[in-house]
């Protein structure tokens, strides 16, 4: 069974939904306090949403120095899967595990509403269960979600297919598709391997069928599918019981 660690920083506030969504997708989940020096042998670590350290200085700038981040860095270096959601994405950028930065929304407002995402890259730890070009709608909730990066970094991300999710028209009546002015409508990116992924939207907030749709659950199903220990080989054909 896939083991997922969800890190809790002081000021995290999405860890409960994130743990619930990961369990709903079939993972064994533990919560890890940010002062822990290791991840307890998890296959995948999630940095959840929230306002770590009150967003002081810059979002994620202080959390990146928490003791657990050294373990996250080691885990990533060893090829382990790392996912940052919203504040977690900001932390991954601040830590240099993903390129670029997340700055104040273009319109200055905190934006809390559904957005429609197009899956631009399949096969990452967050999109293993999607087809290329598929669209789904989940909420965003952030004040500092505008993805920016130098022109050469943006060109590299596009050329290497490292834009994982892009905001597209679809969900939100008369509101613009891009909720924050992110360059190239980028909602999420990955590292060169597709095993470190960060994005602003909150799939964990829409991951229970009782909400009418569990569109976000497939992001967590992807994490499970992408990190499940090698399946036991199925019996060769011909055997009957």
């Amino acid at each position: 069974m896939t083991r997922i660690a969800v890190v809790r920083f002081p000021g995290s506030n999405c860890e409960a939904e994130t743990i619930r969504a990961a369990r709903g997708a079939g993972a064994e989940v533990t919560e890890v306090w940010h002062r822990e020096p290791d991840l307890g042998g998890a296959d995948l670590v999630i940095l959840p949403g929230g306002f770590s350290y009150g967003d002081y200085l810059r979002c994620g700038s202080i959390a990146r120095f928490s003791p657990v981040m050294e373990a996250v860095r080691r885990h990533a270096r060893a090829g382990g899967a790392v996912v940052g959601i919203c504040n977690g994405f900001q932390i991954l950028c601040e830590a240099g595990l993903l390129p670029g930065a997340l700055v104040r929304n273009e319109g200055l407002h905190f934006v809390s509403r559904p957005v429609t995402l197009r899956v631009e890259r399949t096969g990452t730890v967050c999109t293993a269960a999607f087809r290329a070009g598929e669209q789904f709608t989940v909420p965003v909730g952030h004040g500092d979600g505008r993805y920016v990066a130098p022109a050469d970094t943006l060109a590299m991300l596009e050329a290497e297919g490292r834009v994982v999710f892009r905001y597209v028209d679809g969900s939100c009546l008369d509101a613009p598709a891009n909720p924050n002015g992110a360059l190239h409508d980028i909602a999420g990116i990955c590292d060169a391997t597709g095993r470190v992924v960060g994005f602003m939207p909150h799939p964990e907030r829409l991951a229970d069928p009782r909400q009418g749709t569990d569109a976000g659950l497939r992001v967590f199903a992807s994490m499970v599918a992408a990190t499940a220990p090698a399946a036991v080989p199925s019996p060769s054909s011909g055997g009957t019981a």
């Binding site: 390129p99 104040r104 920016v148």
Partner: protein
Amino acid sequence: MKYRVHVRVMPRQGLLDPAGQAVEQALAALGFGDASNVHLGKAIEVDVEGASPEQALQRARAMCDRLLANPVTEDYSVEVSAA
């Protein structure tokens, strides 16, 4: 010896600065239509130990590079005075 370091962190020139634009519009609404190119940054003050002002500045720059400024989106300057 202790020195007072004044750090100024500003959004990089050419990057969109919506907060600066909002303040500029508010100034215009108050009759300061001649105010232009408004940018909002941060001022950070910190006492550091150093054998000389140069060494204090060097410490402060290291703080900026690691934490106080984001190299992707911000530029910083440092000045030193007696603490």
